[in-house]
Structures are given as structure tokens and as C-alpha cells.
Symmetry: C2
Subunit: 160 residues, 2 copies
Amino acid sequence: MLRISKLTDYATVILATLAAGEKRLYTASELAELTRLSPATVSKLLKKLHHAGLVSSGRGSHGGYALAKLPSQINAAAILDALEGPLALTECSTTHSNCSIAGSCHVGHSWQRVNMAIRHALEDVSLSQLAGLDRSPLKSLDLSASRPTVSPLTRMPRPR
Amino acid sequence: MLRISKLTDYATVILATLAAGEKRLYTASELAELTRLSPATVSKLLKKLHHAGLVSSGRGSHGGYALAKLPSQINAAAILDALEGPLALTECSTTHSNCSIAGSCHVGHSWQRVNMAIRHALEDVSLSQLAGLDRSPLKSLDLSASRPTVSPLTRMPRPR
DNA sequence: CTTAATCAGTACTAAACTAGTCCCAATTAG
DNA sequence: CTAATTGGGACTAGTTTAGTACTGATTAAG
């Protein structure tokens, strides 16, 4: 339920790599090596992240990418927005939508609230926390409930 | 970002209809009329909801569906689970997954926590609240932050 | 016992989305 | 100028989603 796309997850890994690294420009291929992701994919993601203002870039030779803000000032919601757009839980939540059962439907409004709750949870998680740079507990998250960690995601693309 | 599928949204409307109605069996076609959804789709969804134990059913003529529990005892997380399976935010969260960058990746663990926070938010929203039957404020949700309501989703299928 | 209504299970299809790759133009340091 | 980069697309295969259809099982009622 409610999964984020692989690409968004990849992007987070890239951002975390930048957050953990030195304060300099990293080229796309450098980041590809560091993250073990395919160069093409890394490049595509960095473009999106740049578009969203999460990373700054330098062009030409000696160009590359760096975080546009401090890791503590980038949150999970912004990353999601950058990669998946500001889509909401249901289509109701978008402004231009016409619904045939508008009158009789009282569900939409409640989804909105759930949506907001989730958004706030995401806004409370900074990149430094995601990257594990920040040792302080995650704000407003119930840590006692976290299950035992399992092995992480397959991040290398399937061969084609 | 983080959208639920249309079908899950439809299912919620169906459940809300049952929650708001009389305490009797409703046939699939009856519910299709009430919700203005296609009978085939309603039927499919009810089967899934039955499978997940959210509705009970009676077969044969005079058969139909009813909620298996009180509306206050059904929560949004259960509905999501029923329709979309217990998928998590990232594939990391599933038990059998092998990841090529396992050693160097510290991101997975944090997503898990976010995942839990979201799950708890969903568990705190009951069907009675989704259906608008419950006038009490949604537990642990920041209502002051809810944006002005916009028009809900197009729920009728596109013609084919 | 026959019939009609109804759920159960499954298979199928078209459309939409996702992930991944590739190409070429623009930019810049040396 | 040339080599190294990013910027902005287009393209494709594969997967998922949404929607429909069919066939069998079950049950109430005549």
C-alpha cells in the first residue's frame, strides 16, 4: 500500500550521497558510481531534482551537481513532490476535477485530512535524517513501533 | 504524490454507503446504483472486501453484502490493505528482497519509520469518520491545516 | 424440482504508467 | 577549438490499473 516509486527512492539515495559527501560539485557519472545506479538514470533524476530546486548545477567541463540547500532543510515531502509531482491521495484533491457523485459523496473531504496528516509526517523527515547524518530521533514519529529492519531494495536495474 | 488507486477510493465509497445505510443485505447492483459506479466494478470490489473480511455476504437469491464490523471498527489502513495488499513505501520493506547496495545504504531504515508513521495515521481514521457519520474530530490529525475542500473525483468509468 | 437471483472465482483486454535508454543541443574550462 | 558536462527531449519494453465478461456454485421461492 502507498508505495513510492523506485525512481523516488533512487533520488533519495543520490541526495543522501550528496549530503554525506564533501561540499563540492559531483558529476552525474561520479554519483552513478557512488550509488551503483545506472548513469542514465542518475542523470535523469538529477535533472528533475535540479528542476525542483533541490540541487544546484554547474554546466560545461568541471560541471556537476551539489545540494542547493542544507540537508536539514530538505524534507521527504519535497523529494516526493519533485519526483512524483504534487499528486494527492485521491484525484478529488486536485483542483480541476469533476465528479458525477459529487453531491452524495462525503468521502473526499476525509481523504483530504488523511492526506494532510501524511504530508506533515513527510515534511517532518529531513534529508539529514534520511541519510542517517542526524542522530536525533525523528520528530513526531513513533519510533517504538518500528519493526526489525529487513534487507533493502534491489537498486540495480534489471538487464534488458 | 502517494496516491491511492481509484479502485480503493471506490471501495471506500461503497463501504461508506453500507455504513450509512440500514442494517440489512445490499446486493451488488443495488450498491452500484447507490454509488453510481459500474455494476461489474462494484461486484469485483465487494469480492475483495469480502475476502479481506470487511464485509460479510449472503449467497443465492435474497443474498447480498453487509459490513462485517461496526463502521467505527474498520479503519483506512485495513481498506488499503484489502485493496492494494500490504505493500510498503519502498520495496526495501518487503521481507524477501536482495539489494546490491545493501551495505552502503542507510536510507531504507528511515523510510521504514516514515512508513510506520503513515500507517498509524491511516489506522487512526475509521470508516465512520470517512463516511462522515462521526462528528468527533479525527484523532491525531491536524485539522487546522486542512485546505479548503475542492470538488471530488470523477468516479464514473470512461466509456470504452 | 425447477427457476431466477445472487455471489465466487477467474480470465481477459485496453489504457495508462514506470523504468530505463539514448540522442543531440547548449555550455564552459582549458 | 575540443573535451567534458548538463539540459531537454523522445522512445521503448514491461508492468500495473481499470474495466469487462464468463462460468460455476448457492439459495429462496414457487
